[in-house]
């Protein structure tokens, strides 16, 4: 048995294929690491050692019988927002503390069909509402680069677990930045695909016109390998994109000569943190040396992305979360006096403070007399934001900018101030409103904390984004740096 396993999916896949180690050995290696280290990090809500071992043995048998795809037998973790049949699925909420999903999300079904081995379910902000992982009912996840700092959210458990090498790869979801922000804060790579690319079936809904699942990994190539399995048309998702399957790794090594990168003046103005700005300048120079050219563009309406996003996402959340009524599943209060008392108390007890705030904002925005002023207004801004991007993509191939306005911040710093927390997503929410694909890759470090470079592409141009990220990672080593916690 090997003492050291490769870290990337590509390396693990090759090792398994050459029989250098088995899936059973690999899986027990990760399970041991989780058992030994995650007490400090709190990146997992549930770990399934027995189930993982069984799946690993099955993968080894399938490989021995000659039935093996590239990801067969490789361990991974699911954000606890994806339904896993027969396993607890909490969405990091007291509301679903004891909920055992009766079916698998399409993403989970696909990853298991490919032979991947689920280690467990990762921590997150409650119902994916948060930017720091601090709204979790199970306590915050810590950032492996500095345990006193947040990992970002909402897919913070997935990001921290990948960064800490407790899993080679994990799933995440991104409604307003929830894959990209924690990827940036934890120094890993993450992609939010085009809206409709990855099925939403069995992914617990937050804001259905914005939610999109995607992979989180150590590099762009691994994102491509995961996306190859996770994406695809699904008739069970009413907004699934009807596209033919595509190999997201096919273009990884394409030359960048002539690539036109747009730099939005709104992202690079005086409000940009100067140390993050310097990291981005270096990253863009690296792409220029490979033949890319940068030009200034303008996305004027994206200044209003945060308000439009908070109205649209809260409105959709208030509607989606009305299903948690204490009747069919989820938390139910003790001894309800009547039906109204059952609803009101079950929801008051089951939801945390941030989820309640969003439901209330959404309910208000959709209520009689306020609909046009808030919801309709936000939808109009949404069109202006989409138009800005479409105009930009007539001139450039991709758009580059920061993923986040700062590096990871200390635990507790923004918990009491929802507005400060919301502003963490200032560079990410516009992408969700427009439904575009975007990724974050590590591109620097400030005082020991990682900085993310965000690349935004036109609809269904994930392969191009991964190509650029891969070429960037060929010339840089930010993605290879190991946080102190994992060293």
């Amino acid at each position: 048995m090997a003492n050291e396993f490769p870290l990337t999916l590509a390396g693990l896949s090759a090792g398994l294929q050459k029989r250098e180690f088995s899936s059973a050995e690999l899986t027990s290696h990760y399970l041991d690491k989780i058992a030994a280290r995650d007490g400090q990090l709190n990146s997992f809500i549930s770990v399934f050692p027995e189930h993982a071992s069984t799946m690993a043995l099955a993968a080894d048998q399938a490989r021995a019988a000659g039935r093996a795809g590239p990801l067969m037998g490789i361990p991974y973790a699911n954000k606890d927002i994806f339904c896993t049949e027969g396993f607890r699925t909490t969405c990091a909420s007291k509301m679903l503390d004891t909920f055992v999903a009766p079916y698998n999300a399409t993403v989970v079904e696909k990853l298991h069909a490919a032979g991947m081995v689920m280690l467990g379910k990762t921590n997150m902000d409650e119902f994916a509402m948060g930017s720091s992982n601090e709204t979790s009912y199970y306590g915050p996840t810590r950032n492996p680069w500095n345990l006193g700092y947040v990992p970002g959210g909402s897919s913070g458990g997935s990001a921290a677990a990948v960064a800490a090498r407790l899993t080679p790869v994990a799933t995440g979801t991104d409604t307003g930045g929830s894959i990209r922000l924690p990827s940036a804060f934890c120094g890993i790579s993450g992609i939010k695909p085009t809206y409709g690319r990855v099925s939403r079936y069995g992914m617990i809904a937050f804001a259905s016109s914005l939610d999109q699942g995607g992979p989180m990994a150590l590099n762009a190539e691994d994102l491509g390998l995961m996306l190859n399995v996770m994406s695809g048309f699904d008739h069970r998702d009413s907004t699934s994109a009807e596209r033919t399957d595509e190999d997201f790794c096919a273009a990884l090594n394409f030359d960048l000569t002539g690539l036109k990168i747009g730099l939005p003046t709104e992202f690079f103005d005086e409000s940009l943190n100067s140390t993050i700005g310097s990291c981005l300048t270096e990253a863009l120079d690296c792409l220029r040396r490979q033949g890319a050219e940068c030009r200034e563009i303008s996305l004027p309406s994206t200044r209003y992305a945060i308000p439009a996003y908070y109205i649209i996402s809260s409105a959709e959340c208030s509607s989606n979360l009305s299903r948690f009524d204490g009747v069919r599943f989820g938390h139910r209060c003790d001894a309800p006096r009547d039906l109204m008392d059952l609803y009101v108390r079950s929801r008051a007890e089951g939801f945390g403070a941030e989820v309640k705030r969003r439901i209330l904002v959404g309910t208000y925005a959709l209520s009689t007399g306020y609909y046009d002023a808030y919801y309709a207004k936000a939808q109009k801004l949404r069109r202006l934001i989409k138009n800005d991007f479409q105009r930009a993509f007539e001139e450039v191939d991709v758009i580059a900018g920061p993923t986040a306005p700062s590096t990871a911040f200390p635990l507790g710093q923004r918990v009491e101030d929802p507005i400060q927390m919301y502003l963490s997503d200032v560079y990410t929410t516009a992408v969700n409103l427009a439904g575009l694909p975007a990724l974050s890759v590590p591109a620097g470090s400030v005082q020991g904390l990682p900085v993310g470079l965000q690349l935004i592409g036109n609809y269904f141009r994930e392969a191009r984004l991964l190509n650029i990220a891969h070429r960037f990672q060929h010339e840089t080593d930010w993605h290879l740096r190991v946080p102190p916690f994992a060293a």
Binding site: F99, V100, P102, T194, Y195, G196, S209, H235, S238, T239, A241, E242, S301, Y304, I306, P307, Y310, I311, D325, G326, V327, R328, F329, G330, H331, R332, R337, D338, L339, D341, L342, V344, R345, R347, A348, A353, K356, R357, I359, L360, V361, T363, Y364, S367, Y374, A376, K377, Q379, K380, L381, R382, R383, L384, K386, P418, I419, Y422, L433, L436, Y459
Partner: protein, 94 residues
């Protein structure tokens, strides 16, 4: 600015109980969120059509065949209270 009475009305619509302790802070927080959101009014959207869905998809048609099987027993395994296949709630009619 919202006042506490308005927040109680919204909470009632949302079927979320708010106790007296949390009401002042919540009212302040919601007011601040609405102030942030009011930024939207700086933009003239007079002739802009609302966008509900990023890719503006239309609902797909599918063949009229049965795709759902009876899964009542499975689905009710996660329910807080059931009886003979029904969900139990407190008495509704006095």
């Amino acid at each position: 600015m919202l006042d506490e009475a308005e927040v109680q009305v919204i909470a009632r619509l949302a079927r979320i109980g708010i106790n007296d302790d949390e009401s002042p802070t919540l009212t302040l927080q919601l007011s601040r969120i609405l102030a942030l959101v009011a930024e939207m009014n700086k933009v003239d959207t007079e002739r802009v059509e609302p966008l509900a869905h990023p890719l503006e998809l239309v609902a797909r048609r599918r063949p009229d065949v049965v795709t759902e099987t009876d899964q009542r027993a499975t689905m009710q395994q996660t329910a807080p209270a059931t009886h003979d296949g029904y969900y139990l709630v407190p008495r509704v009619i006095e």
